[in-house]
Symmetry: C2
Subunit: 370 residues, 2 copies
């Protein structure tokens, strides 16, 4: 199929499950320029803009505005901490969507600590066609099936950090909120998704334990079932199925959390704690690994593991493939998740009993760290 | 979806078009161990083995055996020429399939000329379930719709060469034959697919013209419409749609060529000429580029282009994704096509009017080279 024969509308009727496709939704939609349906009533983007101008964002603002404020606040804080650690500044690209929303892409490349680091937020206002609504109803019964289209809103923060030092793990985080709006601007269906996971090249048990423990503590404050359920979900999702290996040593992952799970305020608080937990879960690890000694062999192993990271993101990640298959997507924001460099070596096998071999055995059979 | 919940049968009912999925078919099926249906009559694998033992392979042998002989002969010849050029030997892995067929994977890694080179043949005997037959009938009316399963045969040669020198282009070739068998061992439906395409990092018009001209001459001997049709098919297929760029400067690509196109002997002769044309189309180019001077900047640009090669193969190539999603596939044979090293740099843009920029403009709007 040629590029020009791709559908010019957004492929909402993508047959893959909706799970995780929202991660890159906002980046993908940046340049599509699809217009919200013109109706008598103001769009939710117009309503939200007016509200922001008139009264700012408070705890009684619509969840859309509160989520936008939350992710931007955490983006700022995380970027500031990472800049302090690395000693170099992020490049900041701000972009607007013509009909409401936009994004802030922050990338630090070839820093002192980080080979490549991206911390992105994005906010999208758009319109869901009938077919997409029908499909999403499978997971969200609140969606009104009797309308031709619905305005929607999506906002999320995505972060991937690839350090130089092979002893220091790559980390990924994403939290996102999605809602559809009734014609009077009130929320129709809504849900949250996200998580955070660690991908080491060399396994330090104390790092794995610290990472999982910090996240579990944040989960436990909200629901004791969250950590065990979302830890398993993470191992299942971030898996290079073709190699029978997980991408890394996990963390948590969840999607489609709506009123069937908890009320919206409770889930918003949980997502807030997930974002809040990022720095304490990762900073102590990067601090103690960033200056460790390593040689050529360790660097090569890291490059091979980077190759596996690329395989997962390009072959299996539904958000990435959804984004890349959406005409007019902001490809550079989506692919900021890829490492600066990667390597594929035919039939590479670590020596039995080596540190590299031990990592592989854990990736082939995920471990309960706590 | 977890690894263990993948279907244990082969996903023949994959919803993507069949086009190009046969490229990695044989590698993917290596370890699945699916059994041909046990019937009174001998399987085609058993018949073919007997025939080979009794009378060797001649021009009156079944096409299956002639195709197998053809690809192995060309593999041997191409590997020998590449070893002479590089000065290093390929690593040769031979594998058998329990119920007939097998493969020869030849890989040369970190040679003097080639960073990574793979020349693979594979032969598969297996059984197509009813659903797969129904799907394939869309392209091949000869397929009997009234059977529960059909024995099939697939054989092909795949080749990818990534040279060290950024001035020397990557080249890819694949030719394959597919048939289904009636219960008496005679051919039911059959078709050919394949092609050959060039991916330079720096564009030398004389190389592009030589490559296309050599291939066009081979095509013209068989049908004057082949080159223009298959050149266009190649540009359309090998396209990083998400970037609006072709992978390289093309060549030819075709699939599903059956009796609706030409008779089988004529197509076999065409594919034989395609294989024969490989060395004269590529060797003069690698000869004149392999020792050209280059610096750090050229090497970095090559690494970025390698990244695009990875993007195409992992995101868009239907054969690769079909292979990787087939449980038990020989992943290392499928991914030998990936470069040894690759790079992703956020928002890289070559200077206007530079050599790098000129390549991009050709990839964005494919050129008629002859």
């Amino acid at each position: 199929m040629s590029y020009s024969s791709l559908p010019s509308s957004i492929p909402w009727y993508d047959p893959t499950p909706v799970e995780n496709t929202v991660e890159h939704l906002s980046e993908s939609l940046q340049a599509t320029g699809e217009e919200p349906q013109k109706t008598e009533a103001p769009t939710i983007a117009e309503r939200d803009n007016l509200l922001k101008r008139e009264s700012g964002i408070t705890s009684s603002s619509p969840m859309r505005l509160r989520m936008e404020a939350l992710i931007k606040e955490h983006q700022k804080k995380i970027v500031a901490e990472l800049e302090k650690l690395d000693g170099n500044k992020f490049k900041v690209d701000t972009w607007d969507r013509p009909n409401g929303g936009g994004g802030i892409t922050c990338v630090l490349q070839e820093g002192d600590i980080f080979e490549k680091a991206g911390v992105n937020t994005s906010v999208v206002y758009g319109t869901l066609p009938r077919a997409a609504i029908a499909r999403m109803r499978a997971n969200h019964k609140a969606l009104d099936p009797d309308v031709d289209s619905l305005e929607f809103f999506a906002a999320g923060l995505s972060l991937v950090l690839h350090p130089h030092n092979p002893m220091a793990p790559t980390v990924h985080l994403n939290y996102r909120y999605f809602e559809t709006a009734n014609s009077d601007g009130t929320s129709n269906a809504w849900w949250y998704g996200g998580g955070c996971d660690l991908t080491p090249c060399y396994l330090f048990d104390e790092d794995a334990i610290h990472f999982h423990k910090t996240i579990k503590e944040a989960c436990d404050k909200h629901d004791k079932t969250y950590y065990p359920r979302f830890k398993k979900w993470c191992d299942n999702y971030f898996s290079n199925k073709h190699r029978g290996e997980t991408r890394g040593i996990g963390g948590i992952f969840f999607d489609d959390l709506d009123e069937a799970e908890k009320d919206r305020e409770q889930l918003f608080a949980f997502v807030g704690d997930g974002l809040e937990t990022f720095l304490p879960s990762y900073m102590p690890i990067i601090q103690r690994r960033k200056d460790m000694q390593y040689g050529e062999q360790e660097k090569q192993w890291q490059q091979l593991r980077r190759g596996r990271y690329v395989e997962f993101n390009l072959v299996h990640d539904r958000g990435t493939s959804f984004g890349l298959n959406t005409p007019g997507s902001r490809v550079e924001s989506i692919l900021m998740s890829l490492p600066l460099t990667a390597r594929w070596q035919y039939m590479h096998e670590p020596a039995k009993g080596s540190k590299e071999d031990r990592l592989l055995s854990v990736l082939k059979a995920p471990v309960d760290w706590i």
